[in-house]
């Protein structure tokens, strides 16, 4: 039996000052299997993989390959042992071509000259074998995220890696791309490569993995065969309690129109055309409207225009009866807009500020928090303490924690707390649960629904079909910058929604009614 394991990480312990990131964790990977590594944000998955990849050294425990103890001091050692990793944030040179990126670090040369042709042939071979089609001469900055991921995968193949680590590979992909990736992973497994698949999406684990190791708070909860388990059991292992997957909510009770958008067009930052074309819709108090669609169909630009980050090229936006088309961001905020941004680290937080400083980011100028331009630190502290308590934001040092050191889930909770607690009529939330574990997703969904029940208008942009179907009272589908359909989640199916999202189906009746 022992011989079956290609990699064994035995009793790994890694302590950072104050935190035990891995506590006696054991992970054994069989040859030719897809092994999922499941855990909440901050459960120690990344640390464990960083140890395997040579970025950290374990304080105790050992790593064996094919039964022999090995020492992995840096990523080069890992590479020599055939261990490759696709990081969550890709490590690619943007201004290099696909080919150059794949060769980088392992270039075939002759008298110091690059042998591109040789590399190209080698890559083409893998590309055909696994159905990984890429344009080798395209620049990285010009290709989609899904394609960039393929480049990362090809990099591993090019280096003859046989143990492939995927760190949350599906977080950035569209549903179609996810299906493709699953197929590619299965193909790898069939050809004898072993895969460690880090994720917190249970559906994907159920679909593709053979076995699953679950971590919770740095400890190994157990390893299970996927055949013998259920989603519910996995989530219980991961979170330590039962988690509900569907959102419990009463029927919506829409009131007056809060947000009204008419014939809105927004220029694209990349192309000369408009990214949003002639879009009209309303959001009413007490309802959750979801904008569904595949990433890159104008959702980001639409939200930028609504929230004031970008100027629209035409149309009007009315909030609570006031025309805010050209209003400043501060004025929109004062009129009653809250905004949970798509990119929490770019827009939502100042990572080098403390938690309390971030919690007043939208309110520091209000009389409650300043007096003649001087910040009222006592008010800030007590306000932050209340929010931390009320929204269960966990951090090392409470209000004075530097936000950069907090986990993604808790960073998002801080933003949610700030935006919901602020006096608002409309909440615009973009991908509010991206990259979060099921516990945090459940929590944020509950908060969004209770905001709706408090009579606020809620507009959510999401790329995740399950989320759209679960949480919305009304669905608007965006395709190529236009709203191509308005659906009722109670009567529609995922399949129908998919048809609208891919542009196969569209209805024109609804959008005419706003004219």
């Amino acid at each position: 039996m022992e011989d079956n394991y290609i990699i064994e990480m035995l009793n790994i312990t890694k302590v950072f000052p104050g935190i035990v990131a891995n506590d006696n964790v054991t992970l054994r990977l069989k040859k030719g299997e897809i092994h999922a590594l499941l855990g909440e944000n901050g459960a120690g998955k990344s640390t464990l993989m960083s140890i395997l990849f040579g970025l950290y050294q374990a304080d105790s425990g050992e790593i064996r390959k094919n039964g022999k103890v090995v020492k992995i001091n840096n990523p080069n050692d890992a590479n020599a042992l055939g261990i490759g990793m696709v990081h969550q944030h890709f490590k690619l040179v943007e201004i290099f071509t696909v080919l150059e990126n794949i060769m980088l670090g392992d270039e075939p040369t002759k008298l110091g000259f690059l042998q591109r042709k040789q590399a190209r042939e080698r890559i083409m071979k893998f590309s055909q074998q696994y159905g990984l089609e890429v344009n080798l001469d395209a620049l990285i900055e010009d290709i989609s995220v899904g394609m960039q991921q393929r480049v990362e995968i090809l990099k591993m193949l090019y280096r003859d890696n046989e143990i492939l680590i995927f760190d949350e590979p599906t977080a950035v992909l569209t549903p179609q791309e996810i299906d493709d990736l699953m197929e590619i992973m299965r193909e790898f497994a069939r050809s004898g490569k072993s895969i460690i698949f880090i994720t917190h999406k249970l559906n994907e684990i159920m679909a593709v993995a053979d076995r699953c190791t679950v971590l919770r708070k740095g400890k190994c909860v157990g390893t299970v065969n996927i055949k013998d388990t259920t989603k519910e059991e996995l989530s219980r292992m991961m979170v330590g309690r039962d988690v509900s997957f569907s959102v419990n909510k009463a029927d919506a009770n829409p009131g007056e129109v809060v947000l009204s958008v008419r014939n809105l067009s927004v220029p694209s930052s990349i192309h000369k055309t408009n990214a949003v074309r002639n879009v009209s819709f309303d959001v009413r108090a007490g309802e959750i409207v979801c904008i569904a669609g595949i990433d890159g169909n104008g959702q980001t630009e639409l939200v930028y225009a609504l929230t004031g980050l970008e100027r629209p090229s035409g149309g009007t936006i009315t909030l609570c009866g006031r025309d805010i088309t050209r209003a400043s961001i501060r004025n929109r905020s004062k009129t009653g807009m809250s905004h949970i941004p798509e990119d929490r680290q770019k827009h939502g937080l100042i990572l080098d500020y403390t938690l309390e400083e971030n919690l007043v980011l939208q309110r520091y100028w209000q009389p409650e928090f300043q007096n003649k331009g001087f910040i009222r630190f006592d008010a800030m502290r007590s306000y932050a303490t209340r929010l931390i308590d009320q929204y269960d934001i966990r951090s090392g040092q409470g209000p004075v924690t530097i936000v950069r050191s907090m986990s993604g889930g808790n960073q998002q909770k801080a933003i949610v707390a700030r935006e919901l607690d602020k006096d608002h009529k409309l909440l615009v939330a973009v991908q509010p649960t991206r990259g979060l574990d099921v516990g945090a997703i459940e929590y944020i969904h509950r908060q969004l629904v209770s905001d709706r029940d408090a009579g606020k208008a809620v507009l959510i942009v999401s790329f995740e079909l399950d989320e759209v179907m679960d949480i919305s009272d009304r669905i608007l589908v965006m395709y190529e910058g236009e709203i191509v359909g308005e659906l009722d989640p109670k009567t529609t199916t995922v399949q129908e929604l998919g048809l609208y999202m891919s542009g196969t189906k569209r209805s024109t009746v609804k959008e005419m009614s706003y004219a």
Binding site: P17, P341, L349, I350, Y353, G396
Partner: protein, 406 residues
């Protein structure tokens, strides 16, 4: 990365941690200086081996024999240091402190020569005029940056030249300001000179107190006000500050104007200084050279970690080394060698950020070995990376003597 069980203890440790952080920044600066001195010593050893030991000794201790001068020369670079550091807190690299300094000097001198005001009021008006001159020269790059998105580094470099040539031209063509046969500005009326501290053979005057007061004021602005909150937020993350509805354009213009005013004050302080010889004063020589005090300000700001309080100390230190440098001439070292040594020290001071990591690690190990590990740290590593490390300014030092005449 949280640990509930530790949260109570952490509240208790709060003071200790913030204290140790400032402490590690300070140790880092000391380490950088030490390394700089070692390399400076090597340079002196190569230049003239037998004199290296007394030479470096003179560099280190020479300033102590001329404390009044150390302080006198520290004041202008404290102001230009603040001008650079303050803008840097907002993520703006104000390389134009020299131009602002020169413009401030001209405005102050102009008021000194041509405004007829009573004693006691005259110098105050001159200082205010100097501030105004610098403010204008900082404002313009700020406006370009805010409204047209022109990089402030480029504009302010060009404004260094424009300011310097304009001022040199104005001075040489303004009768009553310039003494042609000496090729220098005339002596300022006594009423325009700042009150001396009465130390013989030194121009040291009350401006040092004004400069320190301004540094403390800036510290308060940065750390206690909503303006400082916005400023630092913008410096850390421009996108998030926009998202939060901060008026980025207004803040850029305001910050550059304030930075310019600070450098302008530096120019005023340097040239409104009293002279120990009755009837004379500090004079300016228009020789088409960009004021080195502006570039020294970059070094001061880097060594002081852009913190107003840090800058008070770093400016005094750099002034001290420079005074000591002049003493090293007694051992046969040319000005240029001394400049090289000083440059090396300052160059290494730019590694403060790097040193901070080293110092922190050493400190942590020390504490860990003394007692059980206390909360946090592990995850905090990345949080200290500041943009400062990216900008490796090579401050060009040339003798400060040129500007002031005994």
């Amino acid at each position: 990365m949280h640990n509930e069980s530790l949260s109570k203890k952490n509240v208790f440790h709060l003071k200790k941690i913030t204290g140790s952080k400032a402490f590690s920044t300070f140790t880092a600066a000391l380490l950088a200086i030490l390394l700089g001195l070692v390399f400076g010593f090597i340079v002196m050893l190569i230049a003239s081996p037998p004199n290296a030991v007394p030479g470096i000794f003179a560099v280190l201790t020479g300033g102590f024999r001329r404390i009044a001068d150390v302080i006198y020369y520290a004041t202008p670079i404290m102001m230009t240091g603040l001008a650079v550091g303050f803008a840097f807190k907002m993520g703006l690299f104000n390389i134009g402190a020299s131009g602002q300094y020169t413009m401030g000097m001209f405005f102050a001198l102009y008021a000194g020569f041509f405004f007829n005001l009573p004693r006691g009021l005259h110098w105050i008006v001159c200082v205010a005029m100097g501030m105004l001159g610098g403010l204008l020269w900082g404002l313009i790059p700020g406006v370009f940056k805010a409204l047209l998105n022109v990089n402030e580094v480029i504009t302010s470099i060009m404004f260094n030249y424009i300011g310097m040539f304009l001022v040199d031209m104005w001075i040489q063509t303004t009768p009553g300001m310039y003494v042609a046969d000496k090729a220098r500005t005339a002596y300022l009326p006594a009423s325009a000179q700042m009150p001396s501290l009465g130390i013989p053979n030194s121009g040291v005057n009350i401006s040092i107190f004004i400069a320190i007061a301004i540094a403390i004021l800036l510290f308060i602005v940065l750390n206690k006000t909503t303006f400082g909150y916005e400023l630092k937020a913008t410096g850390y993350n421009r996108h998030a500050s926009t998202y939060a509805g901060m008026n980025g354009k207004r803040n850029i213009i305001l910050t550059m104007a304030i930075a310019g005013a600070l450098a302008g004050l530096g120019g005023a302080f340097a040239f409104l200084a009293p002279s120990s010889i009755p009837g004379s004063s500090v004079t300016y020589e228009p020789i088409n050279v960009i004021a080195p005090n502006g570039f020294n300000g970059i070094a001061v700001a880097l060594l002081g970690n852009s913190s107003p309080i840090g800058i008070i100390f770093s400016s005094v230190f750099i002034s001290h080394i420079q005074r000591g440098g002049t003493q090293a001439r007694l051992f046969g070292y040319e000005y240029e060698i001394i400049d090289v040594v000083i440059s090396v020290i300052i160059y290494f001071s730019a590694f403060v950020m790097l040193m901070q990591e080293v110092a922190k690690k050493a400190l942590r190990q020390l504490l860990d070995s003394l007692k059980r590990p206390f909360g946090k740290k592990g995850a905090e590593k990345a949080s200290d990376a500041q943009p400062a490390a990216e900008i490796m300014a090579e401050p060009e030092l040339s003798e400060v003597e040129k500007e002031g005449q005994k």
